[in-house]
Symmetry: C2
Subunit: 226 residues, 2 copies
């Protein structure tokens, strides 16, 4: 069962970091930072037969909740709205870690996992959630774009998942090599370290219907990856 109230990241039986505990983070601020820095989440949905699916979704954090949406025509999303337990994971890959051994080679990353049961949002609360998702992905866009029509709203299933049971894992820095490899005459001579991975926006590309007199809005040119 999911806790009914907020629990610190990594503090429940299901979220405790047993493997490589030094990568487990328990600060709520870190949970918020990882969720706020991601663009896409991976969402688990289990079907009637018990088979899990992992779907990429747009999302946003609103206070102590993550928000995401799907189609009202989607069998899997209707299952979530009906109370199927779920898990939403956001992973940011920050680099590759090259140890002297294959076993200690790794990745630098920030990852947040949220467990629980989502609830369907409606009315003004749902509209606010849709605004949050647009603003998370496309900051500044909501005040300019056309908001959802009643027909579009009817086709959209918007869900909220409380951040009551989460884990956060963050790995940074170079390899943690086996001390024996650092003394080995062959393996101590291997180049080891990290290769950072960077994500950035390229120049915006206007579509063929945008009047040539319209410049790229300033709010778009300011976007940066975190």
């Amino acid at each position: 069962m999911s806790p009914a109230e907020f629990q610190a990241p990594g503090s429940t039986e299901r979220t405790r970091g047993r493997r490589i505990p030094e990568n487990s983070v328990t600060e709520t601020a870190a949970l918020h930072q990882v969720l706020d820095a991601g663009l896409v989440a991976h969402l688990a949905v289990v079907d009637e037969s018990g088979h899990p699916y992992v779907l990429p979704v747009a999302y946003a954090r609103r206070g102590e909740q993550v928000l995401f949406h799907g189609s009202t025509g989607s069998r899997l999303f209707r299952g979530l709205a009906a109370g199927q337990p779920t898990c939403l994971t956001v992973t940011l890959l920050d680099g590759l870690v090259l140890a002297r051994s294959a076993f200690e080679s790794s990745m630098n990353y920030r990852s947040a996992m949220v467990l629980g049961i989502a609830t369907r949002l409606s009315g003004d609360d749902e509209l606010d959630a849709l605004a949050c998702i647009t603003e998370h992905l496309l900051p500044g866009r909501w005040s300019e774009c056309r908001h959802p029509s009643p027909k579009e709203r009817a086709a959209t299933l918007t869900l909220g998942l409380d951040l009551n049971e989460c884990s956060v894992k963050i790995r940074t820095g170079g390899p943690d090599d086996d001390p024996a490899d650092l003394l080995d005459p062959v393996f101590s001579q291997i180049w080891a370290g990290e290769v950072p991975l960077q994500s950035m926006f390229a120049a915006p590309i206007a579509d063929e219907n945008t009047p040539t007199t319209i410049n790229v809005p300033e709010y778009i040119t300011k976007w940066q990856r975190r």
Copy 2:
């Protein structure tokens, strides 16, 4: 039940692209390309109580199989080895799509989903799989790094998941706006288009134990994101 033999991507009841069918791709070559271009996969594991988890994992494709590994001490990985159904999804985010409406705003992406039951690998087959995973993430590294010791092998649970039931979704290009918005006096004047997202490796950083006389190997300086 998962099919016992290879089925074309998107051709089974569970993988058919019902929502936005124009994004569904049925070519096996596209499936391979998406899996080969990703660095991290998101893996679903369902625990004894039926609750799903989504875990980021390193992986590789080997022929018509995806390979990944975890710790033999992990309850969730032992569940997979015991035959729990799973789903492995790889998503590459290629850009943000700004439509005139919030509803049609989207992301450009390439995503592959593999459904099935994984099997545990052993012996030379497992060692080859570990080499594949290292070479997928760190091309050229396997011939230089120290290979797993018997103790490290004993701590590693390596799984293979056949590509028998998959879906591939790819979205490219600008927004698919509601035709009414293109004629609207206000909304037709909004800048719309796409903002590509690029991923690239930064300069390698040697760790403090790498002799200063050792240069970054050429195989590392050649790495590029796809």
